[in-house]
């Protein structure tokens, strides 16, 4: 390796760091992303300039195909589908690391019969293993998120036992690989095993736990790149991989904390389906229904409003209708803010992106900790497609499966209106005490339609 290549990699690493640093402010974030992209370009060009045997045509074709696919998805995807797309990209990153490690293994042991050091072999094993899990795990997450397979947790008897066995087999295989490096069947078996394990670990995890899974897979894709860096003794791969790995872990931790669950409990899966304790019988909650006209009058009479969006808003594509409601209320002099729970939606920050797309200024979106004390002094809370994150049982009912989870104190406002399709319980599979509260009114129906009707009703007043 020559000095120019190293300097280029160093520059790229620094640009990645500056790029991520600039993501800490909304104002500088876009430029930060561009700076990070510039770093990537430098790393790629420097590497391309070093190649000897491969032709530029090959490289160009591969870049062209990859760029076309990448750009197609990037510009075609709807903002509501962002979690699926991130899952898909995570998966392709994992598979890329898998392929690079396997390629390197094949080149050295099968084509050139070169002895590899144990450190390199272990790095190859890790790269293939993590890459494989990232790939199939992400694919399962992708299929769950877009509904091709059930978003519910899929659990079967002996699931954890099976995973344990497979993990043991993986360890035994790894030992065999280190000792019999020239035998390719062990490595191929390991690759297949990692793909199977990837499916098995994500399948028992249900829809609303997806923010954790996606963050974790994001982290894995970084770790896989890192392991590949060790295979090739390449600094920039290790730095970039470490940054991404750390990023995914930080997000995973934030998500787990926001659900008051340990990472282990999320990974064990089956949440909301096996838990019977603390379940309120459906008949016990008596709700008060409200019509559009009456709701419009309530909106007309308040001076402060907090809107709480949830995954249901994304499903109903109600964000643009909400923007109209927001603008109308602002015009009437009502103070409008949005309260965002960290796990609202299917990935970290999902609600923020949807509302940003609908042209709602980001300074109107307030984090849970900053807005939770304000509910007491708020005239009206409008809940759109959120459920568990506003359930007061998390504060009041120690038997509830979500007890201890930080929730938005919607129930403390003077009046609450909940836009909801039906009385179906939320992800946790429990009834929401909020809906039965004296000051809570239910506005049943498709969120987008109800809100559109609500807006015209308010205008007519």
């Amino acid at each position: 390796m020559n000095i120019y290549l190293h300097l280029a990699y160093l520059t790229a690493s620094v640009l990645f760091i500056i790029g991520i640093k600039m993501l800490n402010k909304t104002k500088t974030a876009r430029n930060g992303n561009l700076i990070s992209a510039l770093g990537m370009l430098i790393a790629i060009l420097a590497t391309v300039s070093q190649v000897e045997t491969i032709t530029y045509v090959d490289i160009f074709v591969a870049f062209l195909v990859g760029s076309a696919i990448g750009l197609f998805f990037a510009y075609k995807v709807k903002m509501t589908q962002m979690p699926e797309m991130v899952a898909l990209f995570n998966g392709s990153g994992g598979l890329a690391s898998f392929a690079v490690a396997l390629s390197d293994y094949w080149l050295h042991t099968q084509q050139h019969s070169i002895e590899l050091s144990n450190i390199t072999v272990i790095s190859i094993i890790l790269s293939i293993f993590i890459g494989g899990i990232t790939f199939t795990g992400s694919m399962v997450a992708f299929l769950k998120l877009n509904g091709r397979i059930s978003g519910r947790a899929i659990v079967f008897k002996g699931q954890h036992f099976l995973n344990l066995i497979l993990l043991l087999v993986t360890i035994i295989l790894s030992i065999l690989i280190v000792n019999f490096i020239a035998e390719p069947s062990y490595m191929i078996l390991l690759g297949i095993l990692s793909l199977v394990i990837g499916i098995l670990v994500v399948i028992p995890i249900g829809g609303a736990d997806m923010p954790v899974v996606i963050s974790l897979l994001n982290s894995y894709s970084g770790m896989a790149a890192c392991a590949t860096g060790f295979v090739l003794s390449n600094n920039v791969l290790i730095i970039a991989g470490a940054l991404v790995g750390a990023s995914g872990i930080v997000l995973t931790e934030i998500m787990c904390k926001a659900m008051n669950r340990s990472l282990l409990s999320v990974l064990m899966g089956g949440f909301g389906q096996t838990n019977v304790t603390g379940k309120v019988e459906a008949g016990e909650i008596i709700v008060k229904e409200v019509g559009v006209e009456e709701a419009a009058q309530i909106f007309d009479s308040v001076s402060s409003l907090i809107i709480i969006p949830g995954y249901g808003m994304a499903v109903a594509q109600a964000q643009h209708a909400i923007r109209e409601l927001y603008e109308l209320c602002e015009k009437k002099g009502i103070e409008v803010r949005f309260a965002i729970h960290p796990v609202a939606g299917r990935m970290p920050g999902h609600m923020n992106v949807l509302l940003a797309e609908a042209n709602i200024p980001y300074d109107k979106l307030v984090e849970m900790e900053l807005i939770n004390d304000d509910f007491v002094n708020t005239d009206l809370v409008f809940v759109v497609g959120a459920n568990d994150v506003v359930n007061p049982a998390a504060r009041n009912t120690p038997e509830s499966p979500i007890y201890g989870m930080p929730v938005l104190n919607a129930d403390k406002a003077r009046t609450i209106i909940v836009a909801k399709r039906s009385m179906k319980p939320g992800y946790a599979g429990i009834e929401n005490e909020l809906f039965g509260a004296d000051n809570c009114l239910m506005l049943f129906g498709d969120a987008r339609q109800s809100i559109t009707k609500l807006v015209s009703a308010i205008k007519e007043l």
Partner: protein
């Protein structure tokens, strides 16, 4: 690879991870989705490894094909990741 090569790489890994923790904890929740897609693009750095892996003679060679496949996949990651992050970040407006 002997320890003389491995140890500096390990230093880079550990220090890089700490730096990552510091940087990411300062990103506001509003930007978590673009952060994920941007970091996704960064993990496409595997493309560098893919180019090196491709650097092999002959199309009968499995290593070369794997490398080419990895190159396409990593390019999807890099280009798609940066493009979609840019598309999202463009939407964030203050009043």
């Amino acid at each position: 690879m002997d320890l003389n090569i491995f140890l500096p790489l390990l230093y880079i890994l550990v220090l890089g991870t700490f730096l990552g923790f510091e940087l990411i904890s300062k990103v506001p929740p509003t930007l978590h989705t673009p952060l994920m897609s941007a970091s996704n693009a960064i993990s496409g750095i595997t493309i560098v490894g893919a180019i090196l892996a491709c650097n092999e003679m002959g199309y009968t060679n499995l290593s070369k094909w794997l490398g080419l496949a990895a190159m396409v996949l990593a390019t999807i990651n890099v280009v798609g990741g940066y493009a979609v992050s840019d598309r999202m970040l463009k939407m964030f407006k203050k009043k």
